[in-house]
């Protein structure tokens, strides 16, 4: 017996649902606004089904955090930009390994940290001189205090750059990205106890350096 599809839909559809009928084999058009409203598992699933535009949304959501993480490691814009791009490409390649056990952001942090640690192993970070940094409007800030703050910040950056790799990663993830000790353990692939010990020793080392 033939069943009228519209009749079935009318009986089962909820008022808040929006139903689209797509011919089998047809490529469903999903606009960017719809993609942006999807949660992360749905975006990952779409990517894995071949909808690469879903990955653009993932990039847009996480690009600032990933860039900032990379900047904290290398201390200059050019390298941070390259490393962040590399991290996203690696994330795309390894997307099938994302199990959803942690937040997508945490998983991206893990990739970015690995990319950065590989880079800093091969190359000492080159922090930018003050005059090539992006322009910041300083009209409302007292010039002397801003200069002092800039010098102090440079000292702290240099001190963090001298920390052993795991300690540096722990400080960056804890202080600047506000990850919990458990999340950092997940990112670095170590125990919570090791993360706490690393963090404690990192602060002790920074105290000596500052």
């Amino acid at each position: 017996m033939a069943t009228d599809v519209t009749e079935v839909l009318a009986q089962n559809i909820r008022p808040e649902w929006s139903v689209r009928v797509v011919q089998p084999g047809a490529t469903a058009e999903v606009d960017l606004a719809t993609l942006a409203s999807l949660d992360e598992p749905a975006l990952v699933a779409l990517c894995l089904s071949g909808r690469r535009e879903a990955f653009d949304v993932i990039v847009e959501k996480h690009r600032r955090a990933v860039y900032q993480l990379c900047y904290r490691f290398v201390g200059n814009h050019e390298d941070a930009s390259d490393l962040a791009q590399d991290a996203f490409i690696r994330a795309f390649r390894g997307l099938e390994r994302f199990r959803g056990q942690s937040a997508l952001g945490t998983w991206l942090y893990r990739i970015a940290v690995n990319v950065c640690l590989n880079r800093v192993s091969a190359k000492q970070p080159q922090t930018e001189p003050l005059d090539v940094r992006p322009h910041i409007d300083q009209r409302a800030i007292h010039p002397d205090s801003e200069l002092l703050r800039g010098e102090r910040a440079e000292q702290v950056r240099a001190a963090i750059a001298q920390l052993p790799k795991k300690q540096r990663a722990t400080v960056i993830l804890r202080v600047y990205h506000e990850l919990s000790h458990e999340e950092i353990a997940g990112v670095l692939g170590s125990s919570v106890g090791a993360v706490k010990a690393n963090f404690f020793h990192a602060l002790g080392n920074l105290k000596k350096l500052l």
């Binding site: 653009d56 814009h77 930009s81 490409i89 099938e96 102090r152 702290v156 963090f199 404690f200």
Partner: protein, 190 residues
């Protein structure tokens, strides 16, 4: 007096509650204050914000790089493909061994008491359920969804046997014919 451990000092510096001990222990209070000062200094360091144009440019670069990449595949597909390959290979091995053993056995001459002999031989044959190979096959096959098996080409479609025969060489076809004739002879002899 027992001092705070490193974990407790860290927890106190990060806002944890050890106030009662810190109120009475100068040593621990000094260490916690030092940790707090370092944390404060570190937290004040900001990352310069790139221009808004940078973000658009960055997304474009990633988009182009990703477009040049092969499509990622979901892990269950990968696992299924692996499992299906193993099951397929095992199936071929089991069938091959079974066919070889059966063809290697000489055909017993027809005797007047054939029915009784067959019945006796049937009792002495090992049960399939006791065969570890079949048990492994069953275990692996039970994990495969019927639709997935179809997608992977493990289920014979109409015409598959004919197609397989057409793709055989003359020698292979002759062997198949011999095997079939042998099986027919055995069936007739029973």
């Amino acid at each position: 007096m027992t001092h705070l451990s490193n974990d407790e000092l860290l927890a106190a510096a990060e806002g944890g509650d050890h106030t009662s001990h810190l109120r009475t222990c100068d040593s621990c209070r000094t260490r916690v204050d030092e940790l707090r000062r370092v944390l404060q200094l570190a937290s004040e360091v900001t990352v310069p914000e790139p221009s808004p144009l940078f973000w658009a440019h960055f997304s474009d670069r990633v988009h182009q790089a990703v477009a040049a990449e092969p499509a990622p595949q979901s892990s269950w597909r990968f696992n299924f493909a692996w499992t299906a390959s193993v099951v397929g290979a095992l199936a071929i091995i089991v069938i091959g061994v079974a066919v070889t053993l059966r063809t290697a056995q000489p055909v017993a001459p027809v005797a007047p008491v054939a029915t009784a002999d067959v019945a006796a031989a049937g009792e002495s044959l090992p049960s399939l359920s006791d065969d570890p190979t079949w048990a492994l096959m069953g275990e692996l096959a039970s994990q495969i969804d019927w639709e997935d098996a179809g997608e992977a080409g493990l289920i014979a479609r109409p015409g598959s046997a004919e197609l397989a025969l057409l793709q055989m060489s003359a020698d292979e076809r002759r062997q198949v014919v011999e095997l079939l004739q042998l099986e027919l002879q055995k069936t007739k002899s029973l």
